[in-house]
Symmetry: C2
Subunit: 247 residues, 2 copies
């Protein structure tokens, strides 16, 4: 789009620039509306599957019989092989709200699908920092527009999945969804992340089963507390040659 730039030193210019896309998609399960998600409109199948898993509606992608994306209506129609077991949970999502103000995932901490690790895993700081350089380089393409978050799933010394979204949460759900659709869970994998690590992001990661989250940004106190309790490795401020270990 055409944008006017005002520069106090050199005056006004009009130029063409890219702009971040924001869409609202509706997830329908067996024909009923479950969630409205504000997102970057890409990888909607991965997003839907990751969202359904993170929110406790499914334990694996095998519970899904079909996914149909209708781009014009911005809907993702997910058919479950059977009705979701916990209709109590379901009701919460009929019309969602919250925009980062709400307490998603917290129920999961007290419920099923939450497996603490036996002990913190050993990790190699050099590999993580090397991968972060690759992560940053990939992000640069979209960083043009500013304000987009990225998450990557890693195995050993390489990135196996990389996704971006205007929402931190969606970026994570997209890599989770992609793994699940490939019939993988997070066991033996770890995650690189661009954004703040809140307790919600930690809970998602725990449920998925990864052993380490590393971010360029900071964790919150509740995320650290949870990480210590559950033996998930938590790394913040991974930049250049340095990183901080929070447990």
């Amino acid at each position: 789009m055409r944008i006017k730039r005002i520069d106090l030193q050199s005056g006004e210019t009009v130029f063409e620039d890219k702009i971040i896309k924001e869409s609202i998609i509706k997830i329908l399960v067996n024909g009923s509306e479950l969630s409205n998600i504000i997102c970057s409109p890409s990888h909607l199948d991965e997003l839907a599957v990751g969202h359904l898993f993170s929110e406790g509606f499914i334990e694996s992608a095998q519970e899904i019989s079909s996914i149909k994306i209708e781009k014009d209506k911005m809907t993702v129609n997910v058919e479950f092989k059977k009705e979701p077991a916990d209709s109590g949970i379901e009701k919460q999502y009929v019309t969602t709200s919250g925009y980062g103000q709400a307490a998603s995932g917290i129920n999961l901490l007290h419920g099923k699908g939450f497996k603490p690790l036996e002990k913190p895993e050993i990790f190699d700081a050099k590999i993580i920092l090397d991968l972060f350089r690759e992560f940053q380089n990939r992000s640069v393409i979209f960083a043009e527009t500013g304000g987009v978050h990225a998450a990557a799933l890693c195995s050993d010394d390489r990135i196996i999945s990389f996704k971006e979204d205007i929402s931190r949460h969606n970026a994570v759900d997209k890599i989770i969804g992609e793994a699940l659709l490939g019939r993988k869970n997070g066991e033996g994998l770890y995650m690189l992340f661009s954004g703040r690590i809140s307790s919600e992001i930690l809970v998602k990661s725990l449920r998925f089963g990864i052993y380490l989250i590393a971010s360029r940004s900071a964790p919150t106190d509740r995320a650290v507390e949870l990480a210590v309790k559950t033996n998930i490795r938590l790394i913040g401020f991974a930049r250049g040659f340095r990183l901080n270990v929070y447990n």
Copy 2:
């Protein structure tokens, strides 16, 4: 807390560092639970009032007879003079979810409390960029911990309110709440913001009545579209001596 830093060049050090606080507060209205909000635990009264306003439960702070904060229980008890009019809206919030994935505020676009401006207001780029320097300096205090968002409400050439939160949305709700408690709406005021301007932030701002939002970060396409439709001034990438005007 004690953090271990690994530096590939100079080795490991252990040091004390601050960490971002994350809390979950419950907002109760006339004794019934309305919302769970993940937030930075400060200015909870402003946050509650801003949240109630932004979500369409109140039109002004005069509808509230009392606010009681119970820090130990992390609850904010709000008493309305009468029951909220629209019990249909209320139901959506009994147990919120969504963590930035949901479609908050969207209903408001189609409902009451949404006033397009007659025409875009004139603004002074120099004043905005000067205030952004002040804004950045204030943010620096908390920027130590990383990952916190800030919003400021401005009148003429000065900042009249400045608030921070781990959530972009809460930062905005806190400045809105503070203004409402002082019996002001946004008329004739404008906002500085640290984060991405999504359609949700734009809708909040419109409802509150400010005429301009300026961010250090980028707007999304939907935010620009809405801004053009409603004549709210939208400024992005306000940094140093430059800013971009999106409508």
